[in-house]
C-alpha cells in the first residue's frame, strides 16, 4: 500500500494549481457569458441565434444545459473520480452553462470560479478518501494505460478502412504492426506505437488530400466551374464570424495561456483517455494521443466556430499536448497564448481550405469515429483489468455486470465512461463487502 499512497499524494493539488483552476474557470465562464467561446461543440451552433439576437439568454442556457448535463455527470465526473485528474468535461461544460446563465457580466466569473473551487476541493477530498480505502480503485485504474496506448495506436488503420476500404486498411494495418514490432526491437525506451501512429495518420491525410486533388483535376477537366459567388451565404457567414472572433484576440490569448498552463501542471487530461495516462505520469504518451486527436477535431471546431461566431474553450485542443510537454508554467503561458493567437487569426483561412478539401473533412470524422471505437474497447478492457486487480472474479462480475446493466437500460451513462464509473461503484461495493468481512482484498 505504501507505494500506492505515494502515487496518490502526487495528485494532491498545490495552492498554485488550485488557484489556476479557479481563475481559469472564472475566465471560461466569462467568455461563455460573452458567447465568445464554448466548450461543448454541440452547443456552439446554437450560439449563432443568440449572438444575432434571435433568441434569449435563458433559452440558450437551456440548450447548453440540456446538451451538457449528461456529459458532466456521465463522462466528466466518473473520469475525474476514477483517475484523480481533472478533465475538460468536468471543468468547462459547467462553466459553459454558468457563464451563459449569468444575467450580469460580473456574475459569470464569480460562478465559474466557485465551480472551479468546488471541483478542486471536492476531487482532492475524494482522492484522499479513495486512496485510504482497503480496496484502492484509483491505483487499480492504472491498469488502463496499456490497453489505451496499444489500441489507440490502431486508430488510423480503422479510419483508413472506413474511408478508403479494406485494401488500404489492410496495408495500413500490416504497416503499423511492422512498425510497432520494429520500434519495440530497435528503440525499446520509446513508446512502441509512436512511429506507427505517425505513419498511419500521415497515410490517411495523404490518401485524403490526393483524392481531393484528383477530384478537383477531374472536375476541371470535365469543365465544372467552381462556385465562387459574392453572395455565397456560407462565405459571408464565415467571414462575419472570423471578424467577430478576431476583435477579441487578447482575451483568446489569455484563454490559451490558461488552458496551456493547466495542461502543463499535469493535473488535467484533455482527451477521453488521456486522464488515465496523466494519472500514471506518462506525459509524452499523453501528448502523442492528444496530438493525433487534434486532427479529428480541427474541421469540427473550425466549421462550428465559423458557422456560429463562437470559438472553442480549448481552441483546436492543440494546447493540451503542448502543455503536457512544456518544462514550466511560464513558458506554457507564452506558448499557449501564441498558439491561440495563430488559431484565431488562421480560422478564416482554415475554413476556406477545408471547403476545398471535402475528403480531409471526411477523414476527420472517420478519425473521431475510429478514436471512439478504439478507446471504447480499450477503456472497457482496461476497466475489467482494473476490476480483476481489485477483486478478481468478483470484481469482474460487479464491474462487468454494471456495464452490461447500463447498456440494457439504454445507456444513461455515456458508453465511454460507463466502465470507469462501474469500477468506482464496484470499488465501493468491494470496500463495503470488506467491512462486512465478506471479501479479502487482493494483495497489490
Amino acid at each position: 500500500m505504501s507505494t500506492t499512497l505515494a502515487a496518490g499524494a502526487e495528485l494532491d493539488f498545490s495552492l498554485a494549481q488550485q488557484l489556476t483552476v479557479i481563475a481559469l474557470c472564472a475566465l471560461t465562464a466569462f467568455i461563455a457569458h460573452m458567447a465568445l467561446a464554448i466548450f461543448n461543440d454541440g452547443v456552439r451552433p446554437f450560439l449563432l441565434d443568440f449572438i444575432q439576437g434571435r433568441t434569449t439568454r435563458s433559452a440558450t442556457t437551456a440548450v447548453s444545459f440540456g446538451l451538457s448535463a449528461g456529459f458532466i455527470f456521465g463522462l466528466g465526473a466518473p473520469m475525474a473520480l476514477s483517475t484523480g485528474v481533472l478533465n475538460p468535461w468536468l471543468l468547462f461544460l459547467p462553466t459553459d452553462i454558468l457563464g451563459m446563465l449569468s444575467p450580469k457580466k460580473w456574475l459569470a466569473p464569480v460562478l465559474g470560479g466557485a465551480w472551479g473551487a468546488v471541483v478542486v476541493f471536492g476531487l482532492n477530498g475524494a482522492n484522499n478518501i479513495a486512496h485510504d480505502l482497503p480496496v484502492d480503485f484509483l491505483t487499480a485504474m492504472q491498469q488502463m494505460s496499456t490497453p489505451i496506448l496499444f489500441l489507440f495506436t490502431l486508430f488510423p488503420v480503422l479510419a483508413i478502412t472506413k474511408q478508403f476500404g479494406r485494401k488500404w486498411g489492410g496495408i495500413a494495418g500490416v504497416l503499423e504492426l511492422a512498425l510497432v514490432v520494429m520500434t519495440m526491437k530497435l528503440w525499446p525506451t520509446m513508446f512502441a506505437g509512436a512511429l506507427a501512429m505517425a505513419v498511419g495518420v500521415l497515410m490517411l491525410i495523404g490518401l485524403a488530400v490526393s483524392k481531393d486533388l484528383r477530384q478537383r483535376r477531374a472536375d476541371r477537366a470535365a469543365g465544372v466551374v467552381e462556385e465562387v459567388g459574392g453572395d455565397d451565404p456560407m462565405a459571408s457567414l464565415f467571414s462575419a464570424s472570423a471578424t467577430r472572433l478576431r476583435k477579441y484576440l487578447p482575451l483568446f490569448m489569455l484563454l490559451g495561456a490558461g488552458v496551456c498552463v493547466l495542461a502543463q501542471m499535469h493535473v488535467f487530461g484533455g482527451g477521453e483517455a488521456t486522464s488515465f495516462l496523466i494519472a500514471k505520469g506518462q506525459y509524452a504518451e499523453a501528448a502523442q494521443v492528444d496530438f493525433y486527436r487534434v486532427f479529428g477535431f480541427i474541421p469540427l471546431i473550425a466549421t462550428t466556430a465559423l458557422a456560429s461566431g463562437a470559438y472553442g474553450i480549448a481552441g483546436f485542443t492543440l494546447v493540451y499536448p503542448i502543455g503536457y510537454l512544456m518544462p514550466n508554467p511560464f513558458l506554457a503561458a507564452v506558448v499557449g497564448a501564441l498558439v491561440f493567437a495563430v488559431e484565431v487569426l488562421a480560422l478564416s483561412w482554415i475554413g476556406k481550405v477545408l471547403g476545398k478539401l471535402p475528403s480531409v473533412r471526411d477523414s476527420s470524422e472517420h478519425l473521431r469515429s475510429a478514436i471512439g471505437d478504439t478507446l471504447q474497447l480499450a477503456i472497457l478492457f482496461g476497466s475489467l483489468m482494473a476490476a480483476n486487480a481489485m477483486g478478481g472474479g468478483l470484481g469482474i462480475l460487479v464491474v462487468g455486470g454494471l456495464y452490461l446493466l447500463n447498456e440494457a437500460m439504454g445507456r444513461p451513462v455515456v458508453r465511454m465512461a460507463a466502465a470507469p464509473a462501474a469500477v468506482i461503484v464496484g470499488g465501493i461495493v468491494l470496500n463495503i463487502l470488506y467491512w462486512l468481512d465478506l471479501f479479502t482484498p487482493i494483495k497489490g
Binding site: 461543448n40 461543440d41 454541440g42 452547443v43 456552439r44 451552433p45 446554437f46 449563432l48 441565434d49 433568441t55 440540456g66 446538451l67 449528461g70 456529459f71 472506413k162 451565404p233 456560407m234 457567414l237 469540427l300 466549421t303 462550428t304 458557422a307 456560429s308 471547403g355 471535402p358 473533412r361 471526411d362 470524422e365 472517420h366 473521431r368 469515429s369 471512439g372 439504454g410 445507456r411 455515456v414 458508453r415
Partner: protein, 118 residues
Amino acid sequence: MTKILTGGVGKVEVTQAIGGLGIDSLDVVPSSDMDAAMKLRVGQADYYLGTCHTGAGASLGVLVGLLGSASCHTFGRSVPTEEAVTALLAEGKKAFGFSMDQIDVIAPLMARAIAARG
C-alpha cells in the same frame, strides 16, 4: 424517392442501418454537413441525419447557421418516440442530430417516419 444525407461521426453506421432496412422509397447517401447544407438549400436532398458524441455539434454544425434553427432539431442523447419524430417532420424539420451511441435505435425510427410521409 426521398433523399436522405447522413453526416457526422457515425455517418457510415447510419447509412448502413437505414440501408439495411430495405425501404425502397429512401435513398441514403453519406455526406457532410457543409455539402448537405448546400444540397438541402437547393432541394437536391430532402433530409439530413447527423451524428456525433453529443448529438448536436458535429452533426448539425453548419446546418443551423445556413438553414436556420427552425429547420433543425437535435435529440441530444435522448431517444424520441415515433409520434415525436412524426410531429417534428410535420413541423417542417429537415436536419436532425442525434448521439452516436443511439444510432441503432434512432436511425431506423427516423427512416420509417420519413418513409411514412412519402
